[in-house]
């Protein structure tokens, strides 16, 4: 056990400093920052953010009203919209910088809905930000309904705040916030993708490490001190810890960079459901990583160099990628027969289940069978892997043909 820990410590210390690890680990926080930026932009917060960042407060909007619908401007909009008698006066004000945009409403507006927004050249995205802004919507709707009572005008400008209630098969209701439905899918879905990425980066380091040790011939020196099993176990533990560190950094960075909003999103979901989902994801992560780590270690020991080992391991990585190839089906029907079958096949089970879990209620039998299939596969993979690893790791310069693999298998006996 001591040797396993010594090896694990070295693997952890070495791989945590790899450039590849640092880049991939940094990529997620960067992606989160970009994603949040995009989200804010499309949710209308971008203008506020830009205003805060660059101090370019969108000024008042000039209004030239030929339809008489917007005259006079309602009191609640008078600080944001300024009337002009004609387009010439409006343009003059725009050029003088008195207003940031000019809304020209033709007389036929009521019948065809056409309006014009004039902005200065070089004002960038300002026109887009204005036309899609809630304040412009509220301005238009409120004036169209100016004869109605203020409460109705307000409702028409902001017609509904949806909250979705999901009814389970047992008849229990679960109330989610306005974006709850989206969060309920997105948060766990991206979490599952991160776990899958981690499985393959860590297992990839394992493959790389073993292939390098074989290539630079240190492996025989190591095997004179520890058994092949201890070496394998040490590497799996060390690189598993590397993967968990990566996940931890990602989760923490997402919480920090999003100022806790992702956490708030998560707590909007049902807590027991969220906990169940996280626990299951961790179970699939640990089982999936162990299974793939053993497979990668075995392929690493068989190839005569890193490139060959990667070619062989590509076959197994392909299996893991299949669920993402059929993701379209999963979005529409996460419990379809094909997807369920992929959940029972050990090589696709971890990724398939991590994808299905966030998409809806997965039958308990699928969870049990998928976990069972991986749990049964791990000792079998270990048995086969350790047998091939023990001999394969000492075979130098031989191309790993099927015949060679058969010889390795027989020699290991």
């Amino acid at each position: 056990m001591r040797n396993v820990l010594v090896i694990a410590r070295r693997e952890y210390g070495t791989n945590i400093r790899r450039t590849g690890f640092l880049v991939v680990t940094a990529l997620v926080p960067l992606t989160v920052i970009i994603a949040l930026g995009v989200m804010m932009f499309f949710s209308g917060s971008a203008s506020q953010l830009l205003e805060k960042a660059f101090g370019s407060t969108p000024g008042e909007v000039g209004v030239v009203d030929h339809s008489s619908i917007f005259t006079p401007i309602l009191a609640e909009f008078q600080d944001q919209f300024r009337p002009y008698p004609d387009e010439t006066a409006g343009r003059k004000a725009l050029l003088a910088g008195d207003v940031s945009a000019l809304l020209v409403v033709p007389s036929a507006y009521l019948s065809n809905g056409k309006v014009q927004l004039l902005v200065l050249q070089g004002s960038g995205l300002q026109s887009g930000m204005l036309t899609d802004s809630p304040r412009m919507d509220a301005f238009l709707v409120s004036h169209l309904l100016r004869n109605e009572n203020p409460a109705l005008r307000q409702r028409a400008a902001h017609p509904a705040h949806f909250s979705t209630v999901q009814v389970s098969s047992k008849g229990e209701s679960e109330n989610r916030g306005p974006l709850g439905e989206v969060y309920a899918f997105l948060v766990p879905y991206f979490f599952s993708i991160l776990l899958v990425i981690t499985i393959f980066t860590s297992a990839g380091y394992l493959l790389q490490g073993i292939a390098e040790e074989k290539e630079n011939r240190i492996v025989e020196i190591i095997l004179s001190s520890v058994s092949a099993r201890e070496l394998l176990a040490g590497k799996i533990v060390g690189l598993g810890a590397v993967g968990l560190t990566q996940v931890l950094i990602w989760v923490l960075s997402v919480l920090v960079f999003s100022s806790g909003s992702v956490f708030l999103m998560a707590v909007q979901l049902s807590l027991p459901g969220m906990l169940r989902m996280v626990l299951l994801a961790l179970v699939y992560y640990l089982l999936g990583f162990t299974m793939y780590a053993v497979i990668m270690a075995t392929t690493g020991s068989v190839g005569s160099n890193l490139k060959e080992s990667q070619q062989i391991s590509g076959i197994f990585s392909f299996f893991a990628a299949i669920p993402y190839m059929v993701a379209g089906f999963a979005f529409s029907n996460p419990n379809g027969l094909g997807l369920r079958l992929l959940s029972y096949f050990p090589l696709t089970a971890p990724t398939m289940m991590m994808m299905r879990l966030p998409m809806g209620s997965v039958p308990g039998i699928d969870i049990v069978l998928s976990i069972l299939s991986i749990v049964v596969t791990i000792p079998v993979a270990l048995w086969i892997g350790a047998r091939i690893f023990r001999v394969g790791i000492l075979m130098y310069g031989k191309r790993p043909s099927l015949r060679t693999l058969w010889q390795v298998w027989r020699q290991a006996g």
Partner: protein, 299 residues
Amino acid sequence: MPMLLVSHLQKRYAKLEAVRDLSFDLSSGEVFGLLGPNGAGKTTTIRIIMDIIQADGGSVEVLGGVPRQAKHRVGYLPEERGLYLNMGVLDVLVYLAELKGWQRPAARKRAKMLLEKVGLADWAKSKVRELSRGMQQKLQVLAAMVNDPDLLIMDEPFQGLDPVNLEAVKTLLIEQRQAGKGLMLSSHQMNLVEALCDRILLMNQGEALLYGSLAEIKRQYAGHTVRLSTEGALPADLPGVVRRESVDDGWILSLAETTSTQDLLSDLVARRIPVLSFQVAAKPLAEIFIQVVEGGRHA
């Protein structure tokens, strides 16, 4: 009790019998040479002793127990060797010592002492890849000795060393012997084997051809070669001479198995051939090696 006891060892790879009924032993303070041509079965034998692969038959006792239990007390330098090129010189040694059961502080102390001894102390913090080839070879030897082993097994320890580094490594090995440790060498550099080994085992095609004290073996093979210097020409019909080679000061004669050096000397005297010098030539180990391997002669 011997430090290493190999009895009737057998190992087969598919159709190839790599090791066949091999037996030998090694005592403390002894340098033992395991010799043989490429593919003789030396590496397989060593890997079985090191518990890296399993034997099909026979037994191996290392330091009085099974090889697995003795791993921490054995040092090993394999023929196919290398180091973590991106690791620090000192860190590699400490890591390998830790795998042999050493605690980190003690391992650091021992590693530093060894680096000092071979003049690599200034490189302790450098990456292994920054060392010259010769330095890396020396570091490999240190890696095998970092756990202060009772038994040291080295496959081609002098490979790639320049004369200066070769002397440094030789000195290290001699110190091991003087400290009462056991040392098993496998090398194709016969002059070094001759200089260092007390006993040897020469194997080919998986089985022992020659086994015993190096001095005894050399004596055994010396009796049939004579270095001779005479006044005038040497008759062509000397009985029992199977090969003659002219050298600067005379002849080197190889005698038939049935002819002794005494027989030859008597014949020269009987023929009244003036003998200036007559010396029973010690055959170099390399020649014995070739003779035994090519002749397939069994010890």
